[in-house]
Symmetry: C2
């Protein structure tokens, strides 16, 4: 698909240059807002307003929401007050909030000035909630019903008010703003008797989230319960909004990306890779690299303090990369598994002992298998095939014992650190591979020289 | 929530032992299927059938779908044919297929025998599609409408047939099984005139997926377009089923987990961490560990061949971990970024030159910054603070030049390998950190000794 969009952008530019505006409009209206936003991103910046003004109002608003923040800002700065007001009136409140969160202060002020008073109030309410909370991603536009309504009255109400609601398929039953239950449009349509009341029909075992619930937890609830939307309630169980599945999908994707970036030793990025500037990439990457380089001083110090031993048995140096590599890999396997399970809500801090016990047994299996394989490799490849006489049985034994102990300590450290990070309220993903590798590197060297000292020297 | 479920499981067991079956039933029917499945997983295995039989038919089926494969198998083996038939008749086809895919052959045969002929036909059809394709995750239970129907007729049809459909909110307009358009229940309810025909109302710019479309691509389309469902068509554009957002969420989560596991140097797991046995964990982890240990032979060989140089300048050994560590981290930063972008569909193989160019520039910035910091660290910490006279300016220069060159090559290798993996039809995530670290380790050593040879010896 990506390939075909590129040529569409060129075609559209040619048509605009030939002033065939109605043709461009005819093409654009057949398309989906996401695709239009994608194509707009390929255009030269100064042509964007011309294209955008060709879109019908509703499509314009839907496309606007899908665009990148810098393009949105460019457009807003070019909008007249009337244009801005029109676009805002077509947008859902939560989408407007998403836009606002990316804009500089003077643009935010203009947006709030042009939003109608009701919307402005709702925007301000959502902006009050902490970042990454359910309150900050919810929308206030849901269908609410009264318990005494009949099915027929409820359907009438949906027909009358539904056009501005983000979803009409789940309706919430409230009394004095307190959440009593929910009914789906499916329930209403399939109800056998139009005179039944909502109170008869509604589901009262409601699963709701609090305004302060973390967005990652909300996303987990979507994947667990497969609902279209969750009601968001405040501390007094008054209904204040809904979070819909599409927001949850974005959260799931963003949180997974963030975890992956942290695991890869980077600060989380704000933009897709191809849109990030080189300097932004540099900024996100250099911090960890510097930190880890400096912390490698410890491994250097350990080697220095065993320099005389190494000079006597230079063959030991040969196996440092293998030992550190195996330790690093073992540790990152455990940490990555634990971090992902924490993210998916499959693990709690209270599981720490069962995690450690599982990792210890896995480490013993892995350590024994690796040591045997390593001993074989050292004897067959290094000693016989490569003819290195320095690789004696004793040296091989030192390497293999170190290997087993390194795997064991790496797996324990790798599993425990993310759990403590979680306990301390940090993102467990910061405790991933690069960090653990550094610790394990130091550990494996200490074990190595310790074992070597005991057996060889 | 996890904490409170544990005590519920105990309470329920106590009640069962006291034969208070109706109390247990009363408690369970207030709960959501996912929560019941969660609690059931905490029970002793042999009590499971007793509990399960207390559930009303529909709730039983919904709970069954949410359970782990081994519990499902246990239950099926205990079911009478009538029980099995009843559960199946309450299940959606795609859920039945999910269950079947986890069962041994003799259980599968029994399920197919007990399914009604229509369902059996549909199950077999879905089972024919390749694993991870849209066809394999779709359901055949959607609402189809004819273009000539009026809004009123359409609503009547939904009311009559909707109860068995996975979603009624998006309805598909077909003629001779060819997909013509779609209407949502929102469109139908908000239509101004009940006598309008579906043909007037329907959206004809439909975004559909093919039966063979990869499930990861389908999941990406959900997060791009925010639809509730996508129609699945065959090669002749005949409608064969729908994929709904809840399936897409599961796919998104599974694919992210799979990527993360591969990036961590493991084979993808089948089960959640706490449910995996130690032997399963061992099996998923040992392969990569062995492979990477053996491939570390190369780094060992490189060191061996420079043994005499190292014996003369043992101080060089001190910096091997830092250089290899920085190289490995730089490479994994790039590979992780590229792998994630490929997974999200933000990158194509054709972008390879812009990726390389971006990485080269980022690498130069990182390399220069690191080298300067490293030079400072070597002079201030190693030479002055730790008083190591062997760390001369020349040695520091060798280390810093190696650092910059290693970062450059690591970032290029890290970015390119996943893209070639994708091109070759492999999962790019196999080219992640552990693999790239091994290559970069070898590269950095070669550069190190090369530079040292030129400047020092």
């Amino acid at each position: 698909m990506a390939e075909y969009n590129f040529s569409i952008a060129n075609t559209l530019t040619t048509l605009i240059l030939e002033r065939k505006y109605s043709t461009v409009r005819d093409i654009l209206v057949t398309m989906n807002p996401s695709d239009i936003a994608y194509i707009f991103a390929e255009l030269e910046e100064d042509r964007l307003p011309v294209f955008f003004r060709l879109l019908p109002k509703e499509l314009a608003a839907d496309t606007f929401v899908e665009m990148e923040a810098d393009a949105q800002e460019l457009l807003i700065r070019g909008f007249s007050d009337t244009e801005l007001r029109e676009i805002l009136s077509e947008m859902y409140v939560d989408d407007a909030v998403d836009v606002i969160e990316e804009m500089p202060a003077n643009v935010v002020r203009r947006i709030l000035e042009q939003a109608d008073p009701q919307m402005r109030k709702e925007i301000n309410e959502i902006l009050r909630y902490p970042e990454n909370s359910a309150g900050s991603i919810m929308t206030t536009e849901y269908v609410s019903l009264r318990p005494a309504m009949t099915v027929e009255e409820a359907i009438l109400r949906i027909r009358r008010t539904g056009v501005d609601k983000e979803t009409i398929y789940t309706c919430y039953v409230t009394k004095n703003r307190t959440l009593l239950g929910l009914v789906t449009v499916k329930d209403l349509l399939l109800a056998e008797d139009d005179e039944m009341t909502i109170a008869d029909l509604m589901e009262t075992n409601i699963i709701s989230v609090n305004t302060h619930t973390d967005q990652e937890e909300v996303a987990q609830m979507f994947s667990k319960y497969n609902f279209l939307a969750f009601p968001v309630v405040d501390a007094e169980y008054r209904m204040v909004g809904i979070v819909t599945f599409d927001d949850a999908m974005d959260v799931m994707e963003d949180e997974a990306t963030e975890d992956i970036e942290l695991m890869g030793g980077m600060l989380p990025s704000e933009k897709p890779y191809l849109r990030s500037t080189v300097f932004e990439l540099f900024k996100n990457r250099i911090l960890w690299l510097l930190l880890l380089m400096v912390s490698a001083t410890f491994t250097g110090m350990i080697i220095t303090s065993f320099e005389s031993a190494l000079a006597a048995q230079v063959v030991l140096t040969t196996f440092i990369p293998m030992l550190m590599g195996t330790g690093g890999n073992s540790g990152s396997q455990s940490s990555v598994t634990v971090i992902r399970s924490l993210s998916l809500g499959e693990l709690e801090f209270s599981d720490i002992w069962s995690v450690v016990w599982k990792e210890v047994r896995t480490a013993v299996l892995c350590g024994v298998a690796l040591s045997i394989a390593c001993f074989g490799k050292l004897m067959l490849i290094d000693r016989m095939l490569l003819g290195n006489p320095e690789v004696t049985v004793m040296v091989a034994l030192v390497v293999c014992i170190t290997m087993a102990l390194t795997v064991l300590s790496a797996k324990i450290v790798g599993a425990i650190l993310p759990m403590f990070a979680k306990k301390l309220g940090l993102d467990p993903a910061v405790m991933a591979s690069p960090f653990i590798t550094t610790i394990v590197d130091a550990l494996s060297l200490l074990v190595y020289f310790g074992v070597a000292n005991a057996l060889l020297l």
